[in-house]
């Protein structure tokens, strides 16, 4: 090996490890009772004096254990051609068992109380991380570098409970719960009706399963179980918030006193559940509507995107459905910067060590087909810490990242 001159450094690695995790809210082995105004009551009929009540608020589970993640990995790191080219690759396969997770809250059994945490089933993640870098200088005046990172993982829920039909839902999006976690699927997959366009004519209407308000100009819901009726039994998995891969690229260039860096970041193949359309595209909430309203189906606009406008929308219009699913892929120019260092000759006259002027733009441009404000929400979680990871990639109106322009001076005295 020593004699292979183009190899500067080479490392082959393999690993095995187990990691425990207990990152759930404190005290969840105990059942807890609280007193608040929702538990107080004016038993005495005084109109203004309440009696104090207590009821169960958190359901404890004394049998809770750590969850354990077992990870196996194998990889290679290499630096070649005098450290000009660096290369890294790692493949991993991790299995989380005794998954610590909040159980589905059976509202009939526990009402408003918070469901207990349980150790449920197992989840597998496998994937790779790849990086490639190159740096060189052409002469004393011109140096450059570039690195590219690509990561990919595949997530699968292997088991949740003894009942293969058992599933957990994510948080509410108004009235629906678009996320479902079930064995055989990636965690927090999207679940709902599948819409195959808009009913265009009599024949299509007859061919579509029955639902209240079904008519020419309304959605063509897919009759999954072929029983001629569109109801909750016709929902299915409709998308995944997990990307095929994520990537980034970092490049830099120095020429004489100028320096230039640029950083791209992207995600490919993840779906976003664009819940903001609930408010903007349907008659489900007062307020501003999207321009797509103008492109509603009508006998003269049969290519319309939205169903025919109505004060009394057909059944299921506000249910979770494939209408909300969008390709969340994006490539974003996260950072671009151009700097200029004053030359030594000037600095010495001014009696300072360093003076650099720069202009910078953050989030200057995003390439995406996503129609919402910002596609960079793919792993954002919503709500408190109580349904960790069961609710991913739902855009409930996430605050978009800002495009920022900065002009600056670095001064070293």
């Amino acid at each position: 090996m020593k004699n292979i001159s183009f190899i500067s450094d080479l490392k082959i690695k393999a690993g095995y490890g187990e990691l425990g995790n207990e990152s759930i809210p404190q005290g969840r082995i105990f059942s807890q009772y609280i007193n608040d105004d929702d538990r107080n009551y004016d038993l005495r009929g005084s109109n203004s004096v309440i009696s104090s009540g207590y009821s169960l608020y958190i359901i404890g589970n004394p049998d809770l254990e750590w969850e354990t993640t077992t990870t196996k990995n194998i990889g290679i790191d290499a630096a070649l051609f005098n450290n000009k080219l660096t290369l890294g690759f790692e493949y991993y396969n991790s299995l989380t068992e005794n998954l610590l997770i909040q159980d589905q809250a059976d509202i009939t059994l526990i009402g408003n109380a918070q469901a207990k945490y349980i150790n449920a089933g197992s989840v597998e993640n496998k994937g790779f991380d790849f990086s490639l870098g190159y740096q060189d200088q052409i002469n004393d005046n011109l140096k450059y570098y570039a690195t590219v990172n690509v990561s990919s993982y595949k997530n699968t829920v292997k088991e949740l409970s003894d009942n293969p039909d058992h599933f957990l839902t994510g948080n509410l999006a108004r009235e629906t719960r678009p996320s479902r976690t079930q064995a055989g699927q990636p965690i927090a997959s999207f679940h709902g009706f599948i819409i195959d366009g808009i009913i265009q004519n009599e024949a299509e209407r007859n061919a579509t399963g029955d639902y209240l308000g079904k008519d020419i100009g309304t959605f063509k819901y897919r009759d999954i179980n072929n029983d001629g009726v569109i109801n909750d039994d016709d929902r299915d998995f409709i998308g995944s918030p997990h990307p095929d891969f994520t990537y980034s690229a970092n490049m830099g260039l120095e020429y004489k006193n100028f320096d230039f860096t640029v950083f791209f970041q992207g995600s490919q193949g993840n779906d976003i559940y664009n819940f903001t359309k609930f408010f903007t595209d349907f008659n489900s909430f007062p307020g501003g509507k999207s321009r797509d309203y103008l492109n509603s189906w009508s006998p003269t606009n049969t290519g319309g995107k939205l169903p025919q406008l109505s004060n009394n929308p057909a059944e299921h219009y506000s249910s979770a459905s494939s209408y909300y699913i969008e390709d969340g892929s994006y490539l974003r120019l996260k950072n671009i910067q151009l700097g200029y260092n004053l030359p030594e000759s000037v600095l010495s006259k001014l009696n300072i060590t360093k003076l650099r002027f720069f202009i910078q733009a953050k989030n200057l441009y995003t390439w995406t087909k996503y129609s919402g404000l910002d596609p960079e929400i793919n792993l954002q979680q919503y709500g408190g810490g109580d349904s960790v990871n069961l609710d991913i990639g739902i855009d409930r109106g996430a605050y978009p990242v800002a495009r920022t322009f900065i002009m600056g001076v670095n001064l070293t005295l």
Partner: protein
């Protein structure tokens, strides 16, 4: 600059969350020892192991079970009065407000509620939270006995808990029919494939046998309250034979009496009067936020103007023209049982508040103006109702507003919450004595005891006819042409049944009973489809609505409940 800073912070937070998730998914290699750090005592809550299970604790659990009678925290989606599912879904009320606010309620009104309708999911959650609290109370009783409290000391509290458990189940039964009965100690939801009336009755019988006739706290159930509920349970099964002796017992030996002034039933200063059988005890300015225990269920249902009770929010719950017409009386002072809706009581529909309007001059039942706010009629000391200026969108919801749940102007800040006028302390009536009398009248009518049926109806009408109880103009004269008298004959059984049902509608309008009564009588499809047909000429959004027989009698079971029940719960037929 500040803004930029906060953006940066927001972004960092987001990145942090991302990292947390990524960490979880791409767990790095490490070996960490497993100390039992999961068992750290939580702050700000009582952990089961430190609770002393005694009578006081049992009572505190029971109080929490009473506390959710008002539907909290289901908010206006789970009102105790059932105004949404019981009145808006009937021929009495519209959603009101504007067409695009709370569209789920349009679906309720049009019989097109889906399985995720929030008025259903929140109601379910709130009722079963109530049931859970009653079961917690019952479990605590067992623990208290184990820890040395004498069984006798806990009998009444246990009977109250079982009464409340029956109350919540009965409300759910009326709404969904196929529901599971949740007993104490269950670890999973049982299937909803058996009729749970027997279990409800069992609880009510136990309560009626173990509760005292009087309780010091007027909010607590007594044996008489439990009996009234038991009678109601029988009425809802059309089991007149079982209801009859219970109702007779209540009427002959019970403590209840009609109050002489009809509006005293809806006056926060007259809560818990002799006519109130069981009511939600609303309270305001009671410490804390001061409004949480007020009538939250009706918080949207105030006129849409700042010079009206409720502070201007939000114009929901508007009476139908059909309901207003039902209060017309003939020259004989009796309702127009068959023809009431042929000609409308004139209204200010389409007339702005600055254009003069003369209210209807025909004969009216005085209860109309305690039930409905209409232009030109004195509105609870707030002055004559000014018409469209108080209405959010008259073209949508019509010209009327509700009234029974509103405070008198002089009660601002005492019966309504200071600073939060949407909430007030008028109790929400669940059963009134007139309700009881009219059940008995129904049975008399069905039995062909026409005079007895008529006499009970006339007791209700005589009270309504008390001129001291009329809405008055500022000069003390009656606010409208009130003509009401007692029936002199019920000529046949059919007439008697019709008259009793009609009286029930007039007497109890806006108290959440109407839809459930129509279903119980088996006449919901006829009555409601006729109503939609007639009323849709005024309320265009009702066009195309249809009450489907064998389906819309009961609401769809919330998808959340089905999803979370591990397959135990099945959807109602037709949904």
């Amino acid at each position: 600059m500040r803004k930029h800073h906060s953006l940066e912070t927001a972004k960092k937070l987001k990145n942090k969350q991302m990292k947390k998730v990524i960490l979880f998914i791409l767990t790095t290699l490490a070996l960490i020892s497993c100390e039992k750090e999961l068992d750290i005592n939580p702050q700000g809550a009582l952990v089961e192991s430190v609770i002393e299970f005694d009578k006081k604790w049992v009572d505190q659990q029971l109080i929490s079970a009473y506390a959710i009678l008002d539907g909290n925290p289901g908010y206006f989606w789970a009102p105790a009065s059932n105004w949404a599912l019981g009145d808006v879904a009937s021929d009495d009320f519209h959603k009101g407000s504007s067409i695009d606010d709370q569209p789920q309620l349009n679906d309720v009104e049009r019989f097109s509620s889906g399985t995720t309708n929030i008025y259903l999911s929140r109601k379910w959650e709130s009722l079963y939270e109530g049931i859970s609290r009653t079961n917690q109370t019952l479990v605590s009783i067992d623990k208290a006995i184990e820890e040395g409290t004498s069984k006798e000391d806990l009998v009444i509290l246990g009977a109250e808990a079982r009464f409340l458990r029956a109350h919540y189940h009965m409300d759910a039964k009326k709404i969904w029919n196929n529901i599971p009965f949740m007993k104490e100690g269950l670890i999973a939801t049982p299937p909803n494939d058996t009729d749970i009336w027997p279990s409800i009755e069992e609880d009510l019988i136990y309560a009626s046998e173990n509760l005292p006739e009087n309780q010091e706290d007027p909010g607590r159930a007594t044996s008489w309250v439990a009996k009234a509920y038991l009678a109601k349970a029988h009425m809802f099964q059309n089991d007149y034979q079982s209801a009859r002796p219970i109702l007779d017992n209540i009427i002959n030996e019970g403590p209840f009496q009609l109050v002489s002034i009809y509006h005293d039933n809806f006056n926060g200063d007259k809560n818990n009067n002799s006519e109130s059988v069981f009511a939600v005890q609303n309270s305001v300015n009671d410490g804390g936020d001061g409004f949480i225990n007020g009538n939250r269920g009706n918080r949207l249902n105030h006129p849409y103007a700042s010079d009206a009770p409720g502070g201007g929010c939000c114009g929901f719950f508007q009476p139908s023209q059909n309901l207003v017409n039902a209060f017309k009386t003939g020259a004989d002072g009796l309702p127009l049982l068959d023809t009431f809706n042929d000609i409308d009581v004139t209204s200010d529909q389409g007339i702005t508040s600055d254009i003069p309007f003369t209210p209807y001059i025909g004969n009216l039942d005085p209860r109309l103006d305690w039930t409905v706010g209409r232009r030109g009629i004195e509105y609870l000391e707030w002055g004559p109702m000014p018409g469209s200026r108080w209405i959010r969108d008259q073209s949508n919801g019509g010209p009327y507003v509700g009234k029974k749940h509103e405070v008198l102007k002089s009660q601002e800040g005492s019966i309504s919450a200071t600073g939060f006028p949407q909430y007030n302390a008028i109790n929400t009536p669940l059963i009134r004595y007139s309700d009881v009398l009219l059940w008995r009248a129904e049975i008399y009518a069905d039995d062909g005891q026409l005079t007895d049926a008529m006499n009970l109806v006339n007791r209700i009408r005589a009270r309504a006819a008390n001129p001291n109880g009329f809405v008055k103009n500022s000069d003390g004269t009656p606010a409208a042409n009130y003509v009401i008298s007692e029936y002199t004959t019920f000529p046949d059984k059919e007439y008697a049944i019709k008259a009793v049902r009609f009286e029930r509608r007039l007497e109890l309008a806006s108290e959440g009973h109407r839809f459930f009564d129509l279903v119980r009588w088996g006449i919901a499809p006829q009555v409601l489809n006729k109503y939609i047909n007639e009323e849709s000429s005024k309320r265009v959004y009702l066009n195309g609505a249809n009450f489907t027989s064998q389906k819309n009698e009961y609401y769809p079971i919330p998808l959340d409940a089905i999803n979370s029940s591990e397959g135990a719960l099945k959807q109602n037929s037709g949904y």
